[in-house]
Amino acid sequence: MTDNTCTQCGYEHVVINRKSNGQRLCSSCFKDSIEKKVLKTIRKNKLVTKGDKVLVGLSGGKDSVALVNILNILKEKGIIELEAITIDEGISGYREEGVRIAKDVAKRLNVKHHIVSFDEKYDFTLDKIMEAQKGKDDHQHACTFCGVFRRQLFNQVARDVNASKIATGHNLDDETQSIVMNYLEGNIHNMVRIGYKTEARDEHFTPKIKPLREIPEKEIGLYVLESGFEVHFDGCPYAHESFRMEIGDFIRELNLKHPTIMYSTLNNFEKIKPAIKKEYDKKHVVPNGTCEVCGEPASQSICKSCKFLEKIHNELLNDGNQNG
């Protein structure tokens, strides 16, 4: 006979059995516990300060929906200003649904919402680049383009709206995977950049924060469902990070028998990080200039994203269009 009673309030229907600490929680105590934990992460690591303007990435996926809903608590209390951005990469049959959900969520929470598309900013969609690439030798994966341009647009909009922080929905699974992957691959320079926030390297660079970093992915899924949001649970059709997926499956499998494994991986990493940083961070090259085309921080006169754009327009699409 299993006990279906909430260990917090005694209500007789639980939605989660947390093997990591023995808690069994009803829907309401569960949502409370997630919100409290995220707000504690924010406070403890000083992820926001009073008066911050936070721009949150809202894809319509579960992580971003949970994040905007929790950051909205701080907005309602008058501690921060909050705006959301959705980037439409132009992935037909996939992104439309995310954009629609993002719009609904922003409206429901009364959060100012920016929708920026590759098509209007760069005059191409991700689908179009991938189509044009077919049969060419120099084949790049969709995630490479996507990552570069999303980052550029995110930073641009953050500057345009004078955001003081950019918030992203990375969860405990994502972070644990990154730590283990970089460790196994010996990628120590990437490792020192994993953290609660990126440090501002110059005034053009809006610091990024990860408030959901201590919440397991499955609990985020449960949180948005229990909060009554409609969520886009589909995976991206271009998703391919096969090594990350393997590591993810491996850690989740371990987690069944060792339910605290993700927490300990993250906590231990945070403990050893200062030592790795001391040894390796100083060798990392910091961009010290500004891109002539887009104003992003760059170590040369034109930044990586703009060079990439030039190549796409001149070599891939042959449309002679430089920068939209």
Binding site: V15, D173, K218, L222, M245, R252
Partner: protein, 66 residues
Amino acid sequence: MSITLINKKDVKEIEYEENLTVEDILKKEDIPIETVVVKINDQTVTEDEKVNDNDKMEIIKVIYGG
């Protein structure tokens, strides 16, 4: 017992032996328990919830991979 199993757009009626839990059914269907949230008759349940005859069991995949 007979269960209606809903997995996205896939809806099917399945016959199982009596006295199974959500976890037992997920194992039978080869669905990794760590990647889904399960609702029985529209109410979210834990993996040790007992499943009864004529229940509607909905599987919501919240994690990719697995």
